[in-house]
Subunit: 486 residues, 2 copies
């Protein structure tokens, strides 16, 4: 098949993932199953209403909504196990649902079935301040945990932007702005409680265990981190905590070009400055933020930096950073030490999604996500910007440049079929570009339904086959969040 034909097939396959008309799926959840589910959680905690189902059949992305047949609200792990067993006995698909803040359609009920809404399981089960860890149920969000921790001097740093549930963040292998310094969910989950397809209860590192490290058998914890509900339902997560930094400083720094910003980031990483955050917003993104929030930043590629440490070490990091930045033609830096001022400074970054959409009033947004070796970032971003222009698309860029990870926030009209097709083709070229330089099709959003078509290219035939072997071993009936990842 000629390259162009292959591309067309791929693009067509990817297009299918976008906003398909809401089809009526033949329900496999019959009245008998519904009654049994109600016996576990109470009939008031089982809903088949279309509004509720539609709300649970999509996330914050533009992937087509596919509602589950029924939504249940368990209140504890024992109920999740009983519900899972009923689904297993009746061969009904199970889709876990946290806050619905995903971006690759992880909660879309591809084959209907039962949606497990875990938002009522909100206990912070065990806080071990001395051991710097905590165990949380799946209804506990990132912000809720950090609010709870505020007076302990500890915090959980993984921050994907959205106020996602922490177990959901574990399920999608989330990361975000603090990864360079503190790691992603992969590095910060010590144990998971998981209900398997047949209702068995698994503690990935053993029940109640919360050590800083272990080499006892296979690393089940990191098999379930990033498994996106396809191997089991996470019902609690034990997370590593960090001491709140004594001092924090933020800076916003305009750069002459994306290339200069990228090379400067490499130099900062090489110099050993323990960057807490380093984000890159391109000129289009800065313009969007200025317009959206009435700010007056230079419309240039801009680095947003943050430093954590003691007051003296933060001062030293600032000095080193300024020295490195000036060597790459950085413009005037704006520094902020006070919390309120830092918040104001970071406002542009935090509002990126809405600012991007405001560029096109009435538009909807789709946030892509690729990650490449750090040295390839300037080249890939530059080519991508050219591609956006040629494709006549609005897509400001914001990236976790310290990890080689960046997003295009595509704003487009919900009703423009041609524009949507240009976006799909653009996203395909973007992923292809990332894969060609040793990158990944998804740095932190997961595979869901949006990136399924690229996993084969990324991990190869053997890689995908091994993933499928693992899936079959743990979920032989294929009931756990079917149609996702593998």
């Amino acid at each position: 098949m000629a390259l162009w034909s292959i591309l067309k097939v791929r693009v067509r396959a990817s297009l299918r993932n976008f906003q398909r008309p809401l089809t009526t799926i033949a329900s496999r959840v019959d009245e008998r199953v519904r009654v049994r589910l109600g016996e576990v959680v109470g009939s008031g905690n089982v809903s088949s209403s279309l509004a509720v189902r539609e709300q649970h059949g999509r996330d914050e992305s533009f992937h087509a909504c596919k509602p589950p047949d029924v939504v249940v609200w368990p209140e504890n792990t024992a109920q999740v196990r009983q519900l899972a067993r009923i689904c297993y006995d009746h061969s009904v698909p199970m889709v876990p649902y946290g806050t619905g803040t995903g971006i690759e359609g992880g909660v879309v009920a591809e084959e209907g079935g039962v949606c497990f809404d875990l938002s009522r399981m909100t206990d912070i089960v065990d806080l071990h301040e001395e051991d710097l860890d905590v165990t949380v149920q799946p209804g506990v969000t990132r912000v809720a945990l950090n609010t709870h921790l505020r007076h302990t001097g500890l915090w959980f740093p993984v921050d994907p932007g959205a106020d996602a549930s922490l177990c959901g963040m574990a399920a999608t292998s989330a990361s975000g702005t603090h990864t360079t310094r503190y790691g992603s969910m992969r590095e910060n989950v010590a144990n998971l409680e998981v209900v398997l397809a047949d209702g068995r209860l698994l503690h990935t590192a053993g029940e109640g265990r919360h050590t800083r490290k272990t080499s006892a058998g296979y690393n089940l914890t990191n098999l379930f981190v990033g498994s996106e509900g396809t191997l089991g339902i996470i019902t609690s997560a034990t997370l590593r905590l960090f001491p709140q930094p004594e001092a924090v400083a933020s800076a916003v720094c305009p750069m002459p070009s994306v290339t200069a910003a990228g090379e400067c980031t490499l130099q900062l990483l090489r110099s050993g400055v323990p960057l807490a955050r380093i984000e890159l917003l391109d000129d289009v993104m800065m313009d969007a933020c200025n317009r959206y929030k009435g700010l007056d930043y230079a419309v240039q590629p801009t680095l947003f930096l943050e430093f954590h440490g003691t007051p003296a070490s933060v001062q030293e990091q600032i000095r080193t950073a300024e020295e490195v930045l000036s060597g790459y033609g950085a413009g005037q830096l704006r520094w902020a030490l006070a919390a309120s001022e830092r918040a104001r400074l970071w406002e542009a970054r935090h509002q990126a999604y809405y600012a991007a959409r405001a560029l096109r009033p009435g538009s909807v947004g789709y946030v892509t996500d690729v990650c490449v070796p750090i040295s390839k970032l300037p080249e890939v971003i530059t080519t991508t910007k050219e591609d956006l222009i040629q494709s006549r698309l609005t897509g400001p860029i914001a990236g976790h440049v310290g990890d080689g990870n960046f997003h295009c926030i595509l704003a487009f009209s919900e009703h423009g079929e041609q524009e949507r097709q240009r976006i799909t083709e653009f996203c395909h070229r973007l992923v292809t570009r990332a894969l060609a330089v040793g990158g990944t099709c998804t740095g932190e959003h997961g595979v869901g339904v949006g990136k399924r078509g690229y996993l084969l290219d990324e991990v190869g035939e053997t890689g995908l086959e091994v993933m499928r072997q693992l899936k079959r071993a743990l979920d032989p009936k294929g009931l756990m969040n079917p149609g996702k990842v593998v």
Copy 2:
């Protein structure tokens, strides 16, 4: 069954792992297989000599030697694949061998078969200085890599003590003295090339990919890290590198008690000091080191600390550490900034194993390894020291106290059957003690044959069954390093 009976059965089972007489294993590697192996690597690179086989049938521990039937020396991945395919076709066990520096019998050929000695694959395949990563073949050791990196300003920090092969360290999920600051192998492997049982070649993160993060499908990399050769043979590893610290300072600090040392460590961790190393040696260990190397350290529980950073930040870390330490009754600190002086200071720690054995001239050593939540460490070490005295055993303690991980270095006569039994019983109680407080039976040595009996207690029935399901999925014939881990 009464508790005592269970204990006796357990102890007897564990005892069987100790120095069994060398049995002649019915060879499953017949002449036909031997010829085919020779066709791949050349007949000179296939050995059935008893001396060679015995050398490959044990590691640095006291676990009984069980020689493989034959040893082969492949020189590249293609050969490893062909050899694996021959073994697979003839249902012959495969045991990978790196440097033989393991401590839980990971290379013991429980069921004979073919030992893959990978020491001739010594290429440093790809060094990406800008991306801070490198890919190495299985014959590359930790020291060899860091020697190679010396002039790049980068280094690989995971340091288990021995000059182990890096792929072997990945296979056993090794860690060591720098884990508190830089993480273990789990956090520092970005990709693995693995030959599966049937000869298929897997790249756990996709061929040639070396991003700082990914959320593309199941985390196969971390399934193979710590799999101890039971799922496949690691033929290359892509590792994360770090900038060499600009300044390094070390200190040795006598403490009034193990409890004070443990509590002081917790306080240092809470205070946010980015400790590069924090090691605890108990009074017996300090005495052993003094005797062995003619040193004059106080015979007290002693903390060995190391700080990395800029000169100014190291000075600040030193000041904070001194303040915290003095609050816990620390004695006179010895500081060292120069490399040679630091080496002298750390000499005691590095020689711990030989110093411990020198306490009993002619003795052999067995190093146990457990890890507990950090806050439980003082209590567990204190009880363990009492147990050692009551058991009339020589077992100085050295630990990575910042991770809650510690070792007893048991020195005993090779010929004393009663003493060996006391050691086995002691080790059993030690593991039981660790598990009872939420700990693990092995923090960094792996399961091998030594800790097999404890995995069920640690991860539970479902945990062990899930591990076995994964093993069966990837190695249905049970050929990969059989008798280990699960």
